[in-house]
Homo-oligomer: 199 residues x 2
């Protein structure tokens, strides 16, 4: 390696490890962070430390939160009879953006994936079962991703819940709104056919 | 604003202020930084603080450095008779990568830009003149960007240096190597014509 400014090089390398940041973006970000006024640099590191210190899993739904219970579990206006099971906290944010769902959530923090050595014990499955004990919940919506692992996880959980006499549903998968039939992949199109509704 | 995890939201907003990072990338980066093992998060913030604390301007060439003088000014093998004047420290790195230049540098930290209220006093011009006093330097290469401001700055400095009896040169501008005449813009092509060499 030829001439380099060591601490700057180290910062660039750290930035390059972030997802979606290549060598050139990392260099640009490093210079930006270097030239940032002290006030802004402080706000940046504080936001990072603050988020890492204060955010933990909600003891009920396992979603990320800085309060206990999380604002969703603690909200009396939410429908306590329905739980929507998702893979990770980003999915909760996505569903909340629709403003169509008013029930509760349960965040698994992953999927069952034997290939990667992840079984049900690595997910928040026990926590889900505990929530179903008092029989308040009448429906569990499986909203895991429509991938091999997501489907498998939904199937596994639905079998686990069957004896509990709880309605288990799965999100509908099909052609995205505004999508084009011609460009839809075969699997999505088959799912869309299977899940067809009467008009 | 609907449901959000406040510290995570704040971190996302901080990341969104970085150059080239949009809303979705910021959210992805925020989750990544949140889930980072403690060791890696510490390495990240330390690299940032370290770079900001240790890096300052070299008292001679005004390039960024963590040692004094910088490795380039302190290197006895470099040709002390030539100074290459650039706009910012990234330009030094770019020229060093060519391995074609063995002289010294001078970093202006910007260009003269009356539109933005930046005159010569905001640049490291006094520092450049001080370096020319002992008459070691025989050539100054103007390597500012081929933009209106870069050209103007090079012109301004060359007039300033003329009375000192120093050879002032400017980088050649023309069609990039591997480029296509057909797609070259008119200004680049005119510059390339003006700067033509005998074969």
């Amino acid at each position: 390696m030829s001439y380099s400014i060591v601490p700057l090089q180290r910062l660039t390398e750290q930035l390059e490890r972030l997802p979606g940041i290549g060598r050139k973006s990392a260099a640009r970000l490093a210079f930006h962070l270097l030239y940032l006024p002290d006030k802004d640099a402080k706000a940046f590191t504080e936001a990072l430390q603050d988020a890492r210190e204060k955010i933990h899993e909600c003891p009920i739904c396992c979603n990320l939160t800085d309060v206990e219970p999380c604002p969703l579990c603690g909200d009396d206006r939410r429908d306590k009879t329905t739980i929507c099971v998702v893979e990770d906290p980003r999915d909760v944010l996505a569903i909340e953006r629709t403003r169509e769902y008013s029930g509760l959530y349960h965040v698994l923090h992953g999927t069952i994936s034997p290939m990667d050595g992840r079984g049900p014990d690595q997910l928040r499955v026990k926590e889900l079962l505990r929530r179903l004990e008092d029989e308040t919940v009448t429906e569990v919506i499986m909203a895991t991703d429509p991938t091999v692992e997501g489907d498998y996880t939904a199937m596994y959980l639905s079998r686990l819940l069957k004896p509990l006499n709880i309605k288990v549903t799965r999100l509908a998968y099909g052609i995205p709104v505004g999508g084009d039939l011609e460009y839809a992949d075969e699997v999505t199109l088959s799912r869309s056919l299977e899940g067809r509704n009467e008009l």
